[in-house]
């Protein structure tokens, strides 16, 4: 870094002390430390990510086996040798489908209202804040709120009712309902973004053809927002798959799926069970803890599902957006 040697005398204005500073180096010590820290942070993040992924890969492949995937959990003294996690896998799938099925129509409906109607405006702003509040509420709080609600006898049809009329309040239905809540803000957000990115001349063209607003929404806008809705739904599914607190509180503590007696599907949904997340929790030292190997295997399967969902979000987001050229 050479300093200039031929500069003419600097103009007289300005106190001399600041002018002479021109010869300072361009990267001060503080700057160099800062850049060094930035590098360190970036490398640390990469290393952590690699460590987590590789470790889970290693452990998962070490302990995962086909029998584990295909067999039911069995009560036994030596957990390391018996049973698998077929039921938890089923539980995850059922809960995810249920939660998404409830959340999607509601979420899309709210997004449509916020984007296309939104009158009166104070209500629209309140609903916006409301969705944000739901997004920020801890799932454990939503879970015990759900328990409180579904233990009311009015909801007895959704879960077990024990003798003495005490409503159990824990079932796939109740857990699914609260799962819908945690997926809801993601669906609302994505759908709304998609709707708002449709230029207004599309709507005007539809009205000019004589269609009213609701059919425009149904026939034109929603199909065009498929990408955004898909992204939101997949993101919501990811969140449902990964949640443990709601399942712990609202799905009952049975390892195997226990449908309530009676009709096949309805009884199943009224019954209790477990998911991969609670399975991992219960098999770790924090739960009964007997079989960390099974916990690793189940966690690996969980990770695979989550990675797949992430990948699906990418795929959906990359699909060609409809072009609205005039």
């Amino acid at each position: 870094m050479s300093t200039h040697a031929h500069a003419p005398a600097p103009p007289a204005s300005g106190p001399p002390s600041l002018v002479h500073r021109r010869g300072e180096e361009s990267w001060s010590r503080g700057d160099k430390i800062g850049v060094g820290l930035a590098w360190a942070a970036g490398i640390l993040l990469c290393a952590l990510a690699a460590a987590i992924v590789l470790y889970m890969l290693f452990r998962g492949l070490q302990y995962l086996s086909l029998t584990l995937l295909a067999s039911h959990p069995l009560p036994s003294l030596d957990q390391t040798k018996s049973g698998g996690f077929l039921d938890p896998i089923e539980g995850t799938v059922i809960l995810t489908i249920l939660g998404t099925a409830i959340a999607t129509p509601i979420g899309v409906g709210i997004a449509v209202w916020l984007s296309e109607y939104a009158r009166p405006s104070w209500l629209a702003r309140a609903v916006e804040s409301g969705v944000e509040i739901v997004a920020g509420t801890p799932s454990i709080v939503l879970a015990i709120f759900g328990l409180l609600v579904f233990q009311q006898s009015v909801f007895g049809f959704l879960s077990f009712t024990a003798e003495g009329n005490a409503v159990f309040g824990r079932s796939f239905f109740t857990a699914g309902a609260m799962m819908a809540l945690i997926a809801l803000p993601l669906i609302v957000g994505s759908t709304r973004e998609a709707l708002q990115s449709i230029p207004s001349h599309v709507r005007e063209a539809s009205y000019a053809l004589g269609k009213d607003r609701i059919s425009t929404i149904r026939r034109v806008l929603l199909p065009a927002s498929r990408r955004g809705i898909g992204t939101g739904v997949t993101l919501g599914m990811g969140r449902i798959v990964g949640d443990t607190a709601i399942v712990v509180i609202l799905l009952g503590a049975s390892q195997q799926i226990q449908p309530e007696n009676g009709t096949p599907v309805w009884g199943l949904l009224k019954g209790t069970g477990s998911t991969l997340t609670t399975y991992v929790y219960n098999n770790s030292p924090a739960g009964e803890g007997g079989a960390p190997q099974k916990a690793y295997a189940a966690a690996f399967v969980l990770l695979v599902i989550v990675i797949f969902l992430n990948f699906a979000v990418d795929l959906i987001a990359r699909r060609k957006e409809p072009t609205w050229t005039r």
Binding site: H4, H6, P11, S13, G14
Partner: protein, 320 residues
């Protein structure tokens, strides 16, 4: 991810303040001696089919010339700049002198902005750009010393005023604070900031509250703030990239007067689309077309009796 609230980039809309600026502006701080009588270019005596005096040159009112002898500050030697495969500037050699204003004129896409941005190596920020030839500052190759040093000596003003999201004081003091390890105190900075604001012609309007956010100023004031900000680091050369194109006529006039007042201390290069502006402020003119330097010389000659056919067409409004 979740919806964010990043600051959206709103384009500056000059239509938003047509009248208010005129109402707000106090009389300019420094009024340069009044315009000279319009010069009418005389056709050369020898009659070999030479150009007629251009109408534009006839009407222009010129700011008075500098009386100090110009001192060479920067020079380009066969400078070429390419973006990927496309050549934007082709073998341009010209000189930038302290004591005079050099105007780069030419139609859109002719490479004048690229040339300007190469003088402070701002083209280096564009990944696909490549440069050939030499640029010299006070005789030294600019590639040989640190780019931040270069930029402290060669300042730049942009087309869109770009004051930082800070107070007026912090904006002007920015260049002085963010260099090296020792941070000057506010007390040390204050006289410098005030002096820079005065030179830029902004002090009168803002002196009551230097802690006001800079973004609350009008467009013309913001541009003058940017001038003050550049002046505070005491550059030897100042590059102006169409500084008035987004501003109303009154702000433009104030800025032009400021430019002319600065030229005795700082070498000034201005890129402009506006031929009248070039005539008002320039001492030397370089006309570029599609990357080539077509004509380069004293302003009166280039406007009055340009040598190249292309120059004559451009200067008389034949294309643009």
């Amino acid at each position: 991810m979740d919806p964010l609230i990043p600051a959206e980039e709103e384009g500056f809309d000059p239509l938003r303040e047509p009248m208010s600026v005129a109402a707000q502006l106090p009389p300019p701080v420094r009024r340069i001696a009044v315009e000279e009588a319009p010069t009418v270019a005389q056709p050369p005596a020898a009659g070999n089919g030479h150009v007629a005096p251009t109408a534009v040159a006839a009407l222009a009112k010129r700011m008075p010339r500098a009386d100090t002898a110009p001192l060479e500050r920067m020079r380009t030697e066969a400078l070429s700049i390419a973006y990927g495969q496309k050549l934007a500037v082709n073998q341009v050699s010209l000189t930038v002198r302290q004591g005079e204003v050099l105007a780069l004129i030419g139609p859109s896409g002719c490479g004048k902005t690229t040339l300007l941005r190469s003088l402070n190596r701002l083209v280096d920020l564009t990944p696909a750009a490549s440069r050939g030839g030499k640029i010299l500052l006070d005789g030294e190759d600019v590639d040989l010393f640190d780019v931040t040093h270069l930029r402290r000596r060669v300042g730049m003003l942009f087309q869109q005023p770009n004051p930082f999201p800070m107070s007026i004081f912090d904006n002007v003091a920015y260049g002085l604070r963010e260099r090296g390890s020792k941070k000057p105190s506010k007390r040390e900075l204050e006289p410098v900031v005030v002096a820079a604001l005065e030179r830029a012609g902004l002090l009168e309007e803002v002196k009551d509250n230097l802690d006001h956010p800079a973004l609350a100023l009008s467009g013309g004031q913001q541009q003058r703030l940017c001038i003050a900000r550049s002046l505070a680091v005491q550059p030897e050369v100042l590059l102006l990239d169409e500084p008035c194109s987004a501003l109303d006529p009154i702000s433009t006039q104030v800025i032009e007067e400021t430019i002319v007042s600065l030229r005795s201390e700082i070498a000034i290069v201005i890129v402009t689309h506006n031929l009248q502006q070039a005539q008002r402020v320039a001492d030397h003119v370089a006309f570029m077309y599609l990357g080539d330097l077509v004509e380069y010389g004293e302003a009166e000659r280039v406007f009055g009796s340009p040598v190249a056919e292309r120059t004559r067409e451009y200067v008389s409004g034949g294309f643009g």
